[in-house]
């Protein structure tokens, strides 16, 4: 390898490391992404142009064509995808990476396996690459709705493990040269593909992001293995970084969903995320959120309205909500409190509460004044309120609160609702607001949840 190429690889490696680091903070993430992309571009170009052997033009043309083709396809896909479809696209891309690794393994194996170590490297790359490929495709299909929900395979764990063990045995035999017929490498590919499918198919749709992250980590490992094959530090380090970072990320995602990785992979049989408490008549799924997600949403909003209710009083969270309000104000968010005339359990309950924490009177807005404003509101944060934001008052003539004026928070762009469970409020009726697709539920005691929120906000 030429010194120049080696130096460039070094540079690219550094760009990967720094890029990843920058990606970890909202304020610098964009820069990190661009830096890593730059490093990657540099590495690809210099691999091409600083190659030392004589290469026929034909091959250069082929490579150029492949790059052009791949580049255009990739860019188009990325640019045209809908915001909501991004995770499945990532999964698809990841599958392609895995396939690429598997193909490289195939080619190298075809050249004739060298010493056992090289052979081991190749077979490992092939197995991992192909299982990532098929697994990612299944994940993509599930998210996209192409693969219909969860497929139930009886005894799946046994079957899965059999396939896995079979693949490993085959790979070892190939590596040791015990099995030599090149057909077997295709069998190995097939086994890897099969395992990928079996692995992902039974996992519930809600858990797909975790699975994608896990597969992503595996692609990284496949790339690293390929790096070992070519003694290429860039691939090795880049791959390993992705491998270890991806794994940590997978765990972090599980934690954010309050699940263990084991539960995701083996346990939860296609169950959708279910909130605690008892939902009653109103149906639909509930979207849970975390303090840190809620914090980001609030931090990047321009106009926020807080709706306090009886739960704020029960939790005695008046001081924390004031702290949150001050913090957001400092960051340039326009923030107000919408006070419903019957929020709480006595007239003026919210006033007593907020006066105690010295909330500026000027920030308290009456229902009639704030209602027309909700369509321009970026985020509504409902804290321990229920009946006073229940759209049934407008929509459901059978409801006991029908006709009562409410805070029309459902017109806001995003809604975060904090309460402890899906339980009902004073009027004893379910609230369809919680099932609104714009609503994210931040479950927990108001004081604890808001304290977390404030802590997360301070990290940003």
């Amino acid at each position: 390898m030429s010194t120049a190429l080696a130096l460039i690889y070094l540079l690219s490696t550094v760009s990967f490391v720094v890029g990843l680091r920058l990606l970890g903070h909202p304020a610098t993430a964009n820069k990190g992404n661009r830096l890593a992309a730059g490093g990657m571009g540099l590495a690809i170009l210099s691999t091409l142009f600083l190659h030392e052997l004589e290469v026929p033009v034909k091959i250069y043309l082929l490579i150029g064509g492949a790059i052009l083709l791949g580049g255009i396809v990739g860019a188009l896909m990325a640019v045209n995808v809908k915001m909501t479809k991004m995770p499945e696209l990532v999964s698809l891309f990841n599958g392609f990476g895995g396939a690429s690794a598997a193909l490289i393994g195939l080619v190298e194996f075809g050249k004739g396996a060298g010493d056992p170590q090289t052979a081991a490297t190749i077979t490992a790359g092939v197995v991992i690459g192909s299982l990532t490929f098929s697994g990612s495709l299944v994940a993509w299909g599930k998210l996209d709705g192409r693969v219909k929900s969860t497929v139930f395979i009886p005894q799946r764990n046994i079957i899965n493990n059999l396939v896995l063990v079979g693949s490993i045995v085959l790979a070892v035999l190939l590596a040791l040269g015990v099995v030599q017929d090149p057909v077997w490498i295709y069998v190995l590919v097939a086994a890897g593909l099969l395992y990928g499918i079996l692995f992902v198919l039974p996992i519930g749709g809600a858990d797909m992001p975790v699975v994608i992250s896990l597969l992503n980590s595996m692609t990284g490992i496949a790339a690293a293995i390929t790096g070992v094959l070519y003694s290429n530090k860039l691939m090795l380090i880049g791959g390993i970084l992705v491998g270890s970072a991806g794994l940590i990320l997978t765990f972090a995602m599980c934690r954010a969903m309050n699940r263990t990785l084991i539960a995701v992979v083996f346990g939860a049989f296609g169950e959708e995320a279910q909130a605690g408490g008892e939902a009653r008549t109103v149906g639909g799924t509930v979207r849970k959120t975390t303090a840190s997600d809620a914090a980001i949403l609030l931090n990047y909003a321009k106009d926020v309205v807080i709706v306090p209710g009886y739960g704020l009083a029960v939790a005695q969270a008046q001081h924390v909500i004031h702290e949150l309000e001050q913090l957001l104000t400092e960051r340039g968010v326009v923030i107000r409190y919408a006070i419903h005339p019957v929020a709480g359990r006595m007239p003026g309950h919210m006033n007593v509460l907020l006066a105690e924490s010295q909330v500026d009177y000027g920030l308290l807005v009456e229902m009639d004044d704030i209602n027309p404003h909700f369509p321009q509101t970026d985020v509504v944060l409902v804290v321990g309120a229920n009946d006073v934001v229940n759209p049934a008052a407008h929509n459901d003539p059978a409801s006991p609160i029908y006709g009562m004026p409410i805070l029309e928070v459902e017109h806001a762009k995003n809604i975060i609702v904090n309460k402890r469970s899906m339980n009902v409020g004073y009027a004893g009726i379910d609230n369809e607001l919680f099932y609104n697709s714009k609503t994210a539920m931040l479950f927990g005691d108001a004081k604890a949840a808001l304290t977390d929120l404030v802590a997360e906000l301070k990290k940003l």
């Binding site: 993430a29 290469v55 064509g65 690429s100 170590q117 970084l241």
Partner: protein, 103 residues
Amino acid sequence: MSEWTDFFTSNQDLIFVLILAIFLGVELIKNIPAVLHTPLMSGANALSGVVVVGAILVMLNADPNNYLILGLGFVAVVLGIINVVGGFAVTGRMLNMFKKNGK
């Protein structure tokens, strides 16, 4: 057995690099806010496309007449590049959602 100890001895550097890179990966990622999980996953995915370098090497080293290899390599490069280009582009789009006017 000795084959493997030999492997270890002769690839010591690689193994150190590996270990250090693992630790570095872990340190870089821990304490990430949950909202960045998806963009980060996407960014890491783009990085894993580094495998395309291997695919290019396959092509560069290929016998110009072995069409099987050329074909496989071609596909490998295309897929790898899609992974890289698409990956970074999608990550960029996701991150743009965080941008705030006047901030």
